[in-house]
Amino acid sequence: MEIKTHISVKNLNIWYGQHQAINNISIDIPDKKITAIIGPSGCGKSTLLKSFNRLIELQDGAKVSGKVLVDGEDIYDPKVEVTHLRKKMGLLSQRPQVLPVSIYENVAYGPRIHGIKDKKKLDEIVQRYLIESNLWDEVRGRLNSSASKLSIGQQQRLCLARGLAVEPEVILGDEPTSALDPLSAECIEQRLLELKNKYTIVLVTHILRQAKRLADYIIFLYLGNLIEHGPAEEVLNNPKYLKTKNYLEGKFIEEPKINKELNLKRTAYPNNFVTAKLALGDLEFGHIVKIIVDNESSAIEIPKAIEHEGHKILEVRKLNQNDWEIVVQKHNGGYVI
């Protein structure tokens, strides 16, 4: 399947003061698909999402390194105009944040700050996007009443209309249904499914069923690390790594106990593989070895070869610019952890 990339993250690190919230993540987010970022609370889902429109910079003490390319352009380049970037990225937040003005003004706010003054044009925009977010029929008679009077589900749809009204390319959803009742949530989900033909959608969600219903592509984060990513069916039905599997099954995630560490830096494939294979031979069944390599081809090839040998790959993860970590369990037919 040929996937066009829309947002490309390269070696992204984000710190809040001393705490590293995102640890060297590199990932491509496909164009005009729904990508769901899943993972337990505090794993950096929202942080990753908010790095896409640079809202992360507003947090006190937040520091970003690495690149995020949108349409091939690095958004952290000082030359990039941040308002222009944010216009491209509609945001749906956890709780709907309506502006303290009327329904009409909420939708017209975006176009207006970007310079559209013509009343007729604004009317047209307001109507078009209220229809697109399936709110028009409910509010057409009271466009000038305060938006805070709407139910919370209607407010979230209003926020969607407001976001769409600036004609973004990407919709970022930060658990957009978590504050809503089931019916409103379903309504928002339905809208998102309709919208994915036109927009790239990135959703943070902690509802696995929602990810299953909506996502074409899954990113699984754990403690700021990218554990696994891929097409939704693959990741959700057939996760490669232990942590993903545990998370999807609702089990407790814990770091595997490492019995042996192998530093195979500065050796190339297949030599490092042979060393690893010999080391695994000495190990007891069920024990775990952590292998560190310093080139990408080894990080791709060694896991394949080891899996071929019948062992279990628990995790493959990029540690920093150069190094990869491969966690292998010597196979004895079942997991020990």
């Binding site: 809202l55 006190d60 945001l91 937040s93 709780r95 944040q97 407001r162």
Partner: protein, 309 residues
Amino acid sequence: MNIRIIKENLVRRTMFGLCLFVFSLVFLMAFGLYQKSKPILAIISLKDLLFSSIWHPTQGHFGLSSFIAGTFWVTAIAVIIAVPLSILTAIYVSEYASKRVRSFAKPIIDLLAGISPIIFGVWGIIAVVPLVRDYLMPFFTKRFPFFPFVSDNYTGFSALTGGIVLAVMTFPIIISVVEEVLRTVSFEIREASLSLGATKWQTIKYVVLKKARPGIIAAVILGVSRAFGETMAVLMVAGCALGVFPKSIFDAAYPLPALIANTYGEMMSIPLYDSAVLLAAFILLIITALFNMAGWGILLHIERKQACG
């Protein structure tokens, strides 16, 4: 169990009593002042007292209009200077300033709010009076020789000077409160605006200030109430000349609080003098109360409008 309930009742009643006492003070004061100013009201009509500008206690003339006008001049000038200045400063401190600048600016502003009025008064005489006398007044009377700028008072002790000093005294309070109010506006709603591509200023102008408006109005009311009642500093710099009806910002002004502070307790042998001064106090109380009520009325109206749309 029983003890607990008795305690509960005791605490509630004690606090209710204290609360009642505090509330009743306001009314007691108003009533007392009214009682004391009754004698003069019985002899001279309220209209004469309020609208005559002749103040000759020995001859029985107690026209308060120039003092009332003085109060309004000084307060209005203070508000015109302090309100925009302090709101913009508060916006800068809460929205734009880095954490370090904020942690540095806040205590200084609070310190300014706590400085004794007499120090502001002295500062006014040393710094503001010469500024008005040597620069502001020549400049304005030459360039704008019309209504609020024409005056023959060249001393520098004027309504404008009082207003400037008063503004400096009010703005720490307004800044402090407005800053607090701005910080209560949730981060998420700013995010919502910013994520639509709004600039920071657009977000502040259309979203943050709108959300914070009731609080800002409350802050202004608080500041203006202080300006109405402030005595010492104004007394020192506003000129306080008798027999002058202030027609210009450069005229000497004699606000009500200064009149009361300067005269009450002296020359009590003059008939009706103390009654007249207490009437001035009563009028001051009423002006302040009316202003406060108007302010809270506006606030209530806005809140209701925001709630009902």
